[in-house]
C-alpha cells in the first residue's frame, strides 16, 4: 500500500492529505512533502490523515520533525485523524500531548486558527 500525498492551500493554512501507509518505507516521501510545503512558505500545516491506514514510529518521527521545524518559525502543525487504530499509536507514544489532533478536516479548519 503506497503513500498518496496531496498538498493544497486553505486560507493561510496548508493542508497535506496523506493516504495509505506511513512507514519506514514511505516516510521519506512525507518528509519531502512537508519540507517542500515549508520551503514554499507554509507555516501553518494541517496533515490530514483521514486516508491514512497505517503509521509507524518512523512516520511519527517525521511528523514530530515537521512540528519542531515549523515551531522554530512561529508556525504550527496540526493533525486530522479519526481512526481509533492510528490514534492509539499517538496515545501509546505520548504524542497526543504534543499534537493537536482534530477528528475531521472541517474541525481543523474551523478551529481558532493560527495566532
Amino acid at each position: 500500500m503506497d503513500l498518496t500525498l496531496a498538498t493544497r492551500p486553505e486560507g493561510d493554512r496548508t493542508v497535506v492529505e496523506v493516504g495509505g501507509e506511513i512507514d519506514v518505507y514511505t516516510a521519506p516521501q512525507l518528509r519531502s512533502a512537508l519540507n517542500d510545503a515549508v520551503a514554499a512558505g507554509a507555516r501553518h500545516l494541517v496533515v490530514d490523515m483521514s486516508g491514512t491506514e497505517f503509521l509507524d514510529s518512523t512516520g511519527l518521527g517525521v511528523l514530530v520533525g515537521g512540528l519542531k521545524r515549523v515551531r522554530t518559525m512561529d508556525g504550527d502543525l496540526e493533525l486530522v485523524c479519526a481512526s481509533e487504530k492510528i490514534l492509539k499509536v499517538f496515545r501509546i507514544t505520548g504524542l497526543t500531548k504534543v499534537f493537536t489532533i482534530h477528528p475531521s478536516i472541517e474541525d481543523a479548519l474551523a478551529g481558532s486558527g493560527p495566532a
Partner: protein, 134 residues
C-alpha cells in the same frame, strides 16, 4: 545460526531493506490471525513486529533479519515473535541475559512496550509476546 522451527512456527528471513519491513508485517499479521488472535490484536502485532524489524535492520550486523513466529511453549496460550539475527526456536526459548527495555529510548520502543504484552531484548534479538491467545 540455522533455525529449526517448531512444527507450528513460521520463519521469515529478509535482507535489510525498508520494503522488507512490509513483508514482515504482512507475514506477522497472517500468522497472528491464523493463531486465532482477534483483529485488534492482529493490528498490535502488525505494528510491533514492524518496529522490531526496523530496529533489527539497524542493529544486526549483516542486515539480514530473521523472524520466528508461532505459539509459545505448549499450554502457555501465548503468541511469540522473535526478531533478530540467528534465532532459536520460539517454543524452546532459553532465558538469556535480559536488557531492561526501559533503559533504551524512543518512539519505537514505546510502541513495542505499549503493544506487546511482554517485551524482552536479548542482545540483538527482540522477543515479543502476546498472552491469553484464545
Amino acid at each position: 545460526m540455522s533455525v529449526l522451527p517448531g512444527a507450528d512456527d513460521v520463519v521469515l528471513r529478509v535482507g535489510g531493506s525498508p520494503e522488507n519491513v512490509r513483508t514482515a508485517r504482512l507475514v506477522a499479521a497472517a500468522v497472528a490471525r491464523r493463531e486465532g488472535l482477534p483483529e485488534d490484536r492482529v493490528d498490535e502485532v502488525r505494528i510491533a513486529v514492524g518496529e522490531a524489524v526496523t530496529w533489527a535492520m539497524h542493529t544486526v550486523t549483516d542486515h539480514v533479519v530473521e523472524l520466528v513466529l508461532g505459539p509459545g511453549e505448549e499450554g502457555t496460550g501465548e503468541f511469540v515473535v522473535r526478531v533478530g539475527g540467528g534465532l532459536s526456536p520460539v517454543g524452546g526459548a532459553e532465558e538469556a541475559a535480559v536488557v531492561d527495555p526501559g533503559a533504551a529510548d524512543g518512539l519505537a520502543l514505546a510502541l513495542l512496550r505499549g503493544l506487546a504484552d511482554h517485551v524482552t531484548i536479548e542482545g540483538d534479538t527482540t522477543v515479543l509476546t502476546w498472552s491469553d491467545v484464545p
